[in-house]
């Protein structure tokens, strides 16, 4: 919680402009705030906290897997760590980080004074700390926390002990928070754009979030339904997922992945938006194909609803089902390719500089694409019968989520920190953080491709001797990557507390309304809406 205090002081220091009505001081300010910048900050602090908690769990996993044999933890606790690591990172680190960025940036990017529904905004944030307190507390309950994987497949998840209803309740709370946040974002974008800010003039970060918000509204209730059915199966005698009672355990997987696949894009579309803001800035050149980027995002979102079966190729689907899901999944490569080609064409014949945000953005393009390639391989159903549930899958989704989603969040933090704090971050430390992270993440996840292909299943606490070497390398990478994130923490704290004052537009090539307000951004911005012309629209 020290980070909260630091952030709190800094925001105070940041806007002693005297010409605004000052917010209340102390804890009450943060509990009662309806200001999109305050709420954005709180989301980001929560996300960073969860990132370290989830990261510590990952290090427990990698420490146990450093050598064959059981050394540090019991298998049951190991399973709790893999389950909780996923839940904390997905719902606690990545999603709140994007919501925090949306809160800070969307009103400023569309020229709105605040989010459309500020009181609901406060509520959607304050549900989250309670949801996570509840989720994390299950680790201390009788029988331990959930250990059946974050996918909660029955019948295994129904063997969870006293923790089960608490886990379900915390997932409901996260879902409620996400849906409220999504409604707020849609309402803000559709209703509060400044005059002249037509939809096709919106920055891509706003576009990707608009589409993400619709995905959230479409699928979070589906997850809520699925976990509620688990709850009634366990406590109220229903048999939705119990074959002995006429149900079907595979039905849960269909419902779960109908949520789960769009969820994957919920965690990557805003990342596409961030990278589409950063690359044009540091290439000093407009985004190559703005309209096609928007259409590609919408296509990916549409496709995300019809590919869920590729998570389930081995459950014994009919041939026609396997073929449908294989073809549909392969199609996703097309709009994703369009995005990558557009980023590279934007860099082509630009005038590039490589400040920390750009470094993270370029690493994103390369490493996310590697994750995309392995995704294409996984889409090939016959080969998936070998890949499914191995470390190849673990490597794949970590490539798209860590140097994908997480790197984009890091890039965003460095890019907009001067706007948030009014200070430049320490560029040397930022680059150090980048290089440690980029090297660490590859040592961590690249050998996992080899492990999976050689036959190592995922979610096992101990393994056969032929997997020993790559596991050891992977664990070394994990510790390099994990501890490098302390550099990030230090850079953020240092930047919040002081540093070279940032001008309104610290990046030479930046475009967009957020750079027209002073740094740090005043507590209230665009109380009089700006007028947007074609020339000032997206870069």
């Amino acid at each position: 919680m020290t980070a909260t205090t630091a952030g709190h002081d800094a925001v105070h220091d940041g806007h002693d402009h005297g010409h605004e009505h000052a917010p209340p001081r102390g804890l009450w300010r943060w509990l009662s705030t309806t200001n999109h910048k305050d709420i954005g900050t709180m989301y980001l602090v929560l996300s960073l906290t969860m990132f370290f908690i989830g990261g510590a769990m990952a290090l427990v996993i990698r420490a146990e897997l450093f050598r064959p044999g059981l050394q540090l933890v019991e298998p049951m606790f190991f399973n709790q760590m893999t389950t909780m690591h996923a839940l904390v990172m997905i719902f606690g680190a990545v999603m709140p980080a994007f919501v925090g960025l949306a809160n800070w940036l969307i009103p400023m990017m569309v020229g709105a004074p605040d989010m459309a529904l500020p009181r609901m905004n406060n509520w959607s944030f304050w549900i989250m700390p309670f949801a996570f307190a509840l989720l994390l507390s299950t680790l201390f309950m009788d029988g331990g926390g959930p250990a059946g994987g974050w996918t909660l497949y029955p019948p295994l998840s129904l063997q969870t002990g006293a923790a089960f209803p608490f886990v379900i309740l915390s997932i409901h709370m996260m879902g409620v928070s996400s849906v409220m946040g999504a409604i707020n974002i849609i309402a803000t974008i559709l209703n509060l754009r400044a005059p002249g800010m037509t939809l096709m003039r919106m920055p891509l970060f706003v576009w990707t979030w608009l589409i993400t918000a619709y995905l959230l509204i479409a699928v979070m209730p589906v997850l809520a339904g699925a976990v509620t059915m688990l709850l009634t199966d366990k406590y109220f005698g229903t048999s939705f997922f119990n074959a002995a009672g006429g149900g079907d355990p595979v039905m849960f997987q269909h419902i779960f992945w109908f949520f789960g696949h769009p969820e994957v894009y919920i965690m990557i579309l805003p990342a596409f938006g961030i990278v589409s803001q950063i690359i044009p800035t540091f290439a000093r050149k407009p985004l190559f194909g703005y309209a096609s980027m928007v259409y590609a995002t919408a296509s990916i979102a549409f496709l995300s609803f019809i590919v869920w079966g590729h998570h389930m190729f081995t459950v014994g689907m009919p041939l026609a089902g396997e073929l449908f899901f294989m073809y549909a999944t392969m199609l996703i490569a097309v709009p994703t390719g369009v995005k990558v080609f557009n980023w590279i064409s934007t860099m082509w014949r630009g005038s590039m500089t490589f400040e920390t945000p750009m470094l993270f953005a370029i690493a994103f393009v390369v490493l996310f694409t590697i994750g995309g390639f392995s995704g294409l391989m996984l889409a090939i159903a016959p080969a998936d019968f070998q890949y499914q549930d191995t470390y190849f899958v673990v490597a794949h989704f970590h490539y798209v989520l860590v140097p994908g989603a997480v790197f984009s969040i890091m890039a965003a933090a460095y890019y907009w920190l001067p706007k948030w704090t009014g200070h430049m971050y320490d560029e040397k430390l930022g680059r150090l953080h980048f290089w440690c992270s980029a090297i660490g993440v590859n040592i961590l996840f690249f050998p996992q491709h080899f492990l999976g292909l050689a036959g190592m299943p995922r979610r096992i606490p101990d393994y056969a001797l032929q997997f020993a070497e790559f596991n050891m390398i992977s664990s070394i990478g994990a510790f390099i990557f994990g501890f490098s994130q302390l550099i990030f923490l230090w850079v953020v704290i240092k930047c919040v507390r002081g540093g070279e004052p940032a001008p309104a537009k610290p990046w030479e090539g930046a475009h967009g309304l957020e750079w027209t307000v002073p740094s740090p951004a005043p507590h209230h911005t665009f109380q009089t809406p700006p007028q947007i012309t074609e020339a000032e629209a997206h870069s």
Partner: protein, 394 residues
């Protein structure tokens, strides 16, 4: 961005050091396997892999060329071109064509894999927490197959053997050159039966039966593991398939049938305590997954089996123990009456992880394991439980 290079260099350096110092095999790639299907899957995997590598070289090549040449520090001035519908259409259509090229061989392989007709023999594979059962349909034989690796190896008290965690007490035996249809199902939670050399894995789902097939080219021992998280010992339920030439297989089948028949007959005689204890120790190995080899269980989850040990946990777990006479009012485990004890082993305790073993253990095995539990770790309840008694309790 020459600075990307240290990353590659560091990785190569680390790899180099390791391969010099360690005997290991560093398997990098998927096995081509030992069936026609696994060969086709391997070729498909390599085809897609090389296509991805080629695309990667072009795309990253263009990007890094640009990163190197179009940098401000080299005096590059930004062009301002953007938007080109022609280019956007081109880089939509070209990937579609490449994907069609991938989809054609993938579809052919998939159709071949899904054809389970005209099998020479059928084996039903059932997943249990945490072992497998193999039933040879029509041959009237079936047996369990569980991890053989010594717990001391897992806990680092002795050296790990060559097939650490990939060895079982009774492997699945199949003939080579015959189409074996494999039906997978499960009794408790979802498992997945996977032997990489056969080219596929299939989920084993309680209440449902999945079909796959394999026709193995060459005799040998092929090892695999459960691939779907199935609880505490998910990492400890390996699969071993031994493929034999037809004559060897026929001999194995005859021997196994004879052994099963004599096992069935042995239930009718009176057993001595020493032989019950010996057999019980063997049977208890599958109980040890939860109750531990020491009989001490795991706090809060799996009760100890030792008289007088304290145990606490969720009330849903304690209450059935109390009503059956296995937990005293002050929270200590008691070894209750024999008939209740047998009932727990045979029928399990509904609503808890304790499953019923009536379908899995023979009368001899139940009698032996009860004798073992009631006379080990300081328990001293003297009884040599007879198989005939278990028969009446079923």
């Amino acid at each position: 961005m020459s600075a990307f290079r240290p990353c590659g260099l560091a990785a190569t350096g680390v790899l180099g050091l390791w391969s010099a110092a360690v005997h290991a095999d560093f398997q990098l790639n998927m096995t081509p396997g030992v069936t026609a299907v696994s060969h086709r899957i391997y070729e498909l995997h390599m085809l897609i892999f090389w296509i991805c590598v080629a695309i990667g070289i072009v795309v990253f090549g263009v990007m890094f060329w640009s990163v190197y040449h179009h940098r401000k520090s080299r005096g590059a001035v930004a062009a301002q071109f953007h938007e080109s519908t022609t280019i956007e259409i081109a880089w939509t259509i070209v990937p579609v064509l490449i994907l069609v090229g991938m989809a054609i061989p993938a579809t052919k392989t998939l159709v071949q894999m899904e054809d389970t007709s005209n099998a020479d023999l059928t084996i039903k594979v059932t997943g249990y927490q945490w072992k497998w059962r193999y039933d040879y349909l029509g041959e009237d034989i079936g047996f369990y197959s569980s991890l053989k690796t010594d717990a001391r190896q897992i806990h680092g008290e002795t050296d790990k053997g060559e097939h650490y965690l990939l060895e079982v007490d009774r492997p699945l035996v199949v003939p080579v050159g015959r189409k074996v249809r494999i039906l997978t199902t499960a009794s408790d939670v979802i498992h997945a039966w996977w032997v990489p050399a056969l080219g596929w894995k299939r989920d084993a789902i309680p209440g449902f039966v999945n079909e796959s097939w394999a026709k193995i080219d060459q005799p040998g021992t092929y090892r695999g593991q459960c691939a779907e998280l199935c609880g505490k010992d998910h990492g400890f339920m390996p699969i071993v398939v031994v493929a034999m030439n037809q004559p060897d297989y026929d001999k194995w089948l005859a021997d196994t049938k004879a052994a099963a028949a004599s096992e069935r007959n042995s239930a009718d005689r009176v057993w001595g305590k020493a032989e019950l204890m010996a057999k019980g120790a063997e049977v208890y190995r599958s109980c040890a997954a939860c109750h531990q080899a020491s009989g001490e269980g795991i706090a809060g989850m799996f009760p100890p089996l030792i008289h007088g040990k304290p145990f606490s946990g969720p009330e849903a777990l304690l209450e059935p123990l109390r009503t059956r006479g296995f937990l005293s009012a002050d929270g200590k485990i008691t070894v209750g009456p024999l008939d209740k004890h047998a009932e727990i082993v045979l029928k399990g305790i509904p609503g808890t992880p304790m499953a019923g073993y009536a379908g899995q253990l023979s009368d001899v095995e139940v009698a032996a394991v009860l004798t073992y539990i009631r006379n080990s770790w300081g328990n001293d309840f003297g009884d040599a439980v007879q198989p005939s008694m278990i028969k009446t309790l079923r």
